[in-house]
Symmetry: C2
């Protein structure tokens, strides 16, 4: 969970116990519907946000963990929508071009968001790779467009954009497609959710405690 010192790990352990209890309060017997790996990821999100409501908001579709582990084993890149998400993920092949000058110019020229411009320019990396969207609904909608119109096939779309405009709808649309995905129901989502889920799967790939 990021802690590397004894004090840090003591806090993480104690927190994890409380987190498990809070999740049980939210899910009750529905807790049995989740695999150990899925529950480990949900615990990470509740730990990162102190918001137990996430236990009932996170959805796993089309074998996202297995597909993501395959991609990680094959050293595929992780593409992120924003720099904050990149900064939080512990992996050495992460791409994020949102702040590049070229992205800004491309966005301006075509009247699209920087998030869309960035995703569109990275479609070759996204094909067979892992795409993590923690902020921009328009970035997720562009991934869906690439899937539908350009046959781009990510191994995982971790799509948790946040906000009251387009975020819910973009995630609902994602879940109608045959893409391995992890997403949230409704407007909630964001960087800590994206990062804690992704770091959880990376921990799994190294056989570390999730």
């Amino acid at each position: 969970m990021g802690a590397t010192t004894k004090d840090g790990m003591d806090i993480a352990d104690k927190s994890r116990e409380i987190v498990k209890r809070k999740i049980f309060e939210v899910l009750n017997e529905k807790i049995d519907l989740y695999s150990d790996e899925e529950m480990g990821l949900i615990e990470r999100v509740v730990h990162a946000t102190a918001d137990p409501e996430y236990a009932k908001l996170i959805l796993f579709n089309n074998g996202p963990i297995k597909n993501c582990l395959d991609a990680l084993n094959n050293k595929k890149p992780i593409i992120t929508d924003i720099s904050m998400v990149k900064a939080g993920i512990r992996y050495n092949n992460i791409v994020c071009t949102i702040s590049d000058k070229e992205t800004f110019e491309y966005a301006k020229k075509y009247g699209i968001t920087r998030a869309v411009a960035s995703i569109r320019s990275l479609k070759d990396e996204i094909d067979g790779g892992i795409i993590v969207i923690g902020n921009a609904p328009t970035a997720l909608l562009e991934v869906i467009r690439l899937y539908n119109e350009e046959k781009i096939r990510p191994k995982l779309v971790l799509g948790v954009p946040v906000g009251f405009v387009k975020a819910s709808e973009s995630k609902e649309l994602l879940r109608t497609l045959n893409i391995p995905s992890i997403s949230t129901i409704g407007p909630k989502g964001g960087t800590p959710i994206a990062v804690s889920l992704m770091n959880g799967i990376i921990a799994l790939s190294k056989n570390e405690r999730i």
Copy 2:
């Protein structure tokens, strides 16, 4: 709000309208207790998290906005507890040493968290500077120790650590002191809250739309 293209700004505008409505539903007539600047910052947090509950969780103590603006005008550094917070803030004098080799060694040697080690080693920058804590309660407790025991006087403590262990208590303790601070009630907090508040004050310092 980070948007720089027309599409991006349209989404931001529409979102802001919804955010204002949601905040009103939470605060009702208590909305009049806040200054325009404070309400602008609260709107940013609700926009960044899609979680209107934050409207009643954010507290401003001892003139935090004015003191922070003074520090920004004097080009004082912003110190952050973790890299993700640093990655999200738009300012050119930001310091974060949590991932430095020296910090790790110092933490190991003295049996403290990396967060504490990092804050302790930056006390000269924190004195008269702006300290933003979006993750680690132990980092906030160390800032409080530096205030009490070593007379370190930050111009703003933006203290929104998250979690079920020590986070609430560390923020309550902060609010008992005569330090300009912005903090949250209870276990909730985290990177998006820290970043949206800090970028909001930076926007104010440039007379940009908050």
